[in-house]
């Protein structure tokens, strides 16, 4: 074992000097910092101010639309200059004088297209701006309003109503705001036309019964589901992603390492000093230590940033910190990281030992990567039904056990799942290591073409 530790120490020391390790080490803390600290900045500053033109030939809706968009001012943020006027996300632009706003919508939209395609610019506050969207409300909009029980003509008229023109199909915020403002105004007028008191109706619409979500698993008197509870339920998903990144990163390190020793012809001199078993164990331990350093720093950074931000903005920092402190997330993360790593490392060790170049290994690695994609793809569904069929099936497949069980940690999975999958995972990991050792022992000295699967099976029997 002494020799395995010597190999492990070199693996640790040399990998800890690589640029990739340091990037991995700091990347996550930087991401945490940015995501909790700069999220508002991203939300407000990263989205540019967008300019629109509203042509309301009916004269019925311009004021309500403008009023609604005026209310979309970004929230004031702590630390920003309180006296600086907040900028509206959607600002009106001035139409050029040559565009006739009284023309029919077809010719009006034809005139506006060069601006909407950004071939030409409009003016707003004395400077050139790109036109983001044009909202055209026809003169006879009153006739086109869709009303229930109004007959087939009215129902099909919906495509000939208000026109919203924009080259950006992904961001529908402006369209939604305008639609709600216009429909709100139409309904208000309907109430008036029918002799109904719109203020009374609004009051009626705001009456409600208090509705509370309660968790039967919580202590009596504290069953109300809080924001922290919701965070607690979703937090494991974040850890699954972290687990995936950690296992994948260190597995890749391990593969590069073996291939380097094989392609640089160092392996033979190593094998005159240590047995293949000691070499394999040393690599496994050394890279595991690298992985633990990575996740240790990541956890410390996460706690540090959440402590720093708890009680302030963003509002999820405090509840998340409580969720981390009061649940089994951290210890389970470490356990599943180690077990998951050893399981995948066994495959990587066997694979690396039979390949001579990274290119050769990548062909096989693609297969492992594809298998590893399953936990990522299923990650969002498990918290919704943590003890459902999908979650349970994945939990009992050893290569997915660490990810699936990690995702279920806060949902109190049945004891049989918790213990049974752990035993199965341990047994499978031991079996994978045994098989990897058999393949590693022979494969590591092999040169030339990688062996066929049949040949490797023969090695396992031998």
């Amino acid at each position: 074992m002494k020799y395995a530790f010597l190999v492990a120490w070199r693996e640790y020391a040399e990998n800890a000097k690589t640029r990739g390790f340091w990037i991995g080490l700091f990347m996550f803390p930087v991401i945490i910092f940015l995501s909790v600290n700069v999220s508002f900045l991203l939300e407000t500053k990263a989205t540019p101010v967008r300019h629109y033109v509203l042509v309301d030939q009916s004269g019925m809706f311009a004021a309500v639309v403008e009023s609604r968009l005026e209310q979309l001012n970004p929230r004031w943020q702590p630390g920003t200059n309180a006296f600086k006027a907040a900028q509206r996300p959607f600002q009106p632009a001035t139409l050029p004088a040559q565009i006739d706003t009284n023309a029919d919508l077809a010719s009006l939209s034809r005139d506006l297209k060069p601006y909407l395609r950004h071939e030409k610019n409009l003016q707003a506050n004395g400077r050139d701006v790109e036109l983001y969207a044009a909202i055209l409300i026809p003169r006879d909009i009153e006739k086109r309003i869709v009303r229930p029980r109004a007959g087939p003509a009215g129902k099909t008229a919906s495509t000939n109503g208000i026109e919203y023109w924009s080259a950006n199909l992904a961001d529908t915020r402006l369209r939604d705001e305008v639609e709600q403002a216009v429909n709100g105004e139409i309904r208000r007028r309907e109430y008036l036309a029918r002799g109904m008191d719109s203020a009374a109706i609004r009051e009626v619409e705001q009456t409600r019964a208090p509705f509370a979500s309660l968790d039967p698993k919580k202590e009596a008197g504290q069953e109300a589901v809080s924001g922290a509870d919701i965070i607690r339920q979703w937090a494991p998903s974040g850890f699954v992603y972290l687990l995936w990144v950690a296992v994948f990163t260190v597995s890749q390190m391990l593969l590069n390492n073996i291939i380097e020793e094989k392609s640089n012809r160092i392996i033979e001199v190593l094998l005159s000093s240590v047995t293949p078993g000691e070499l394999m164990m040393g690599k496994l331990l050394g890279i595991a230590a690298i992985g633990l350093t990575l996740v240790g720093v990541w956890m410390a950074a996460l706690f540090g940033v959440l402590h720093w931000k708890s009680g302030g903005a963003p509002d999820f920092a405090g509840p998340l910190l409580v969720a981390l402190k009061t649940s089994k997330l951290i210890p389970m993360f470490l356990i599943y990281f180690l077990l998951g790593y050893v399981m995948y490392a066994a495959f990587i060790l066997a694979l690396g030992s039979v390949c001579n170049t990274i290119k050769e290994a990548q062909n096989y690695m693609a297969l492992i990567t594809m298998c590893m994609m399953v936990p990522l793809l299923t990650m969002p569904f498990i918290p919704k039904d943590p003890n459902g069929t999908l979650a349970r099936v994945l939990s009992w497949i050893p290569i997915y056990t660490p990810f699936a069980m990690m995702n279920r940690v806060n949902a109190d999975p049945p004891l049989i799942d918790l213990i049974g999958t752990a035993i199965l995972l341990l047994a499978s990991t031991a079996a994978s290591l045994w098989m990897a050792a058999k393949i590693f022992r022979i494969g590591i000295l092999r040169t030339g073409q990688p062996p066929r699967i049949v040949e490797m099976l023969r090695w396992l029997k031998g």
Partner: protein
């Protein structure tokens, strides 16, 4: 009285060692014993089974049959701290510092970290690589890298050193350095087994050679014994007829050596080569030349070289391997 059987045991002993790869017999019933403190050349053409034999000695691979005793133990791994090995395929960790690579391999051979570091610097200084100690090995030339690997394999001052093609790829200056390293070790009574197919190195360094071809041992003895397997030669340069020399007892053959053009005319013969028996005195040939009035431009007697011995013993195998 020494009661430790290991102390009296030869550093290396192979008994009827055979290795099969599937149906292919790579090593065929090879036996030999190395004496303590000797330098032994392990010669053979490419694909003769040298590397396989060395790997079996080091227990990197297992023999199919036969037994190997290293420093008195049946397993090389038991005495790995007392063995040094330089493999044929040479390489280093590219990003590691030069001293660090040597120290790492020394720690794997039992030295403490501190002692290994000290030893690495000491060796680098002794062999002129001190300035490269703190540089990554990727900054070294091929010759330097090979020297560093050699130093890494002997940093723990092993009793038995096994070198697989230590001179391959080296320029003459670095070959000389490598020879000096081997002589240094031999001077400290270390036992050295090295494989090569460059006969000059073996001739200069070895007391004894082992010849292997197609997995079989075909010669095991001293260089003098190897040379005695071929008749001695006398080279005569003359324009006169040397017919009378053919009659002399002890002259085994008389062959003309022609110009490179290989033309048939007698004017193209540059000299004559005579093969003589083991007990024949070359002076008798010289005396006969004077007695018969043969005017000599040159007369030279030489022993066969190891290259000649190698070519005769494994020549067909070597040619076959070269065309494979």
């Amino acid at each position: 009285m020494n009661t430790n059987p290991q102390a009296d045991a030869p550093p290396l002993q192979l008994r009827n060692v055979t290795k099969f790869y599937g149906d292919f017999k790579a090593v065929d019933d090879v036996s030999f014993t190395l004496a303590a403190g000797s330098i032994c050349g392990f010669l053979g053409p490419n694909g003769a089974g040298k590397t396989t034999t060395l790997r079996m000695i080091l227990e990197i691979i297992q023999p199919t049959r036969g037994s190997i005793t290293v420093l008195g133990r049946p397993s090389a791994l038991e005495v790995r701290q007392r063995i040094g090995y330089l493999p044929e395929e040479k390489g280093l960790y590219k990003k590691m510092k030069t001293w660090s690579v040597i120290a790492y391999f020394a720690t794997l051979k039992g030295l403490t970290r501190k002692a290994a570091r000290q030893r690495a610097y000491e060796l680098l200084e002794r062999y002129g690589l001190k300035d490269f100690a703190a540089k990554p090995t990727e900054a070294l030339s091929k010759g330097m890298s090979q020297k560093v690997q050699m130093l890494a394999s002997i940093a723990h001052d092993p009793e038995l050193v096994i070198l697989d093609e230590p001179f391959s790829g080296l320029d003459p200056v670095n070959q000389q350095v490598m020879e000096d390293i081997i002589r240094d070790m031999a001077g400290r009574k270390r036992t050295i087994l090295f494989s090569t197919h460059v006969m000059q190195h073996a001739e200069r360094l070895c007391e004894r050679i082992l010849l292997i071809a197609k997995g079989k041992k075909i010669f095991d003895g001293t260089i003098a014994e190897a040379k005695r397997t071929l008749p001695r030669r006398v080279r005569i340069e003359t324009d006169d007829d040397i017919g009378p020399l053919r009659q002399l007892s002890g002259v085994l053959s008389v062959d003309p050596v022609q110009t490179a053009r290989g033309a048939a005319g007698p004017e193209d013969v540059t000299h004559w080569e005579l093969q003589i028996g083991e007990n024949t005195d070359p002076q008798a040939i010289l005396q006969l030349c004077f007695a018969k009035g043969i005017r000599l431009r040159g007369f030279n007697q030489s022993d066969p070289t190891l290259h000649d011995v190698f070519m005769r013993l494994v020549g067909p195998e070597a040619r076959e391997a070269a065309f494979r």
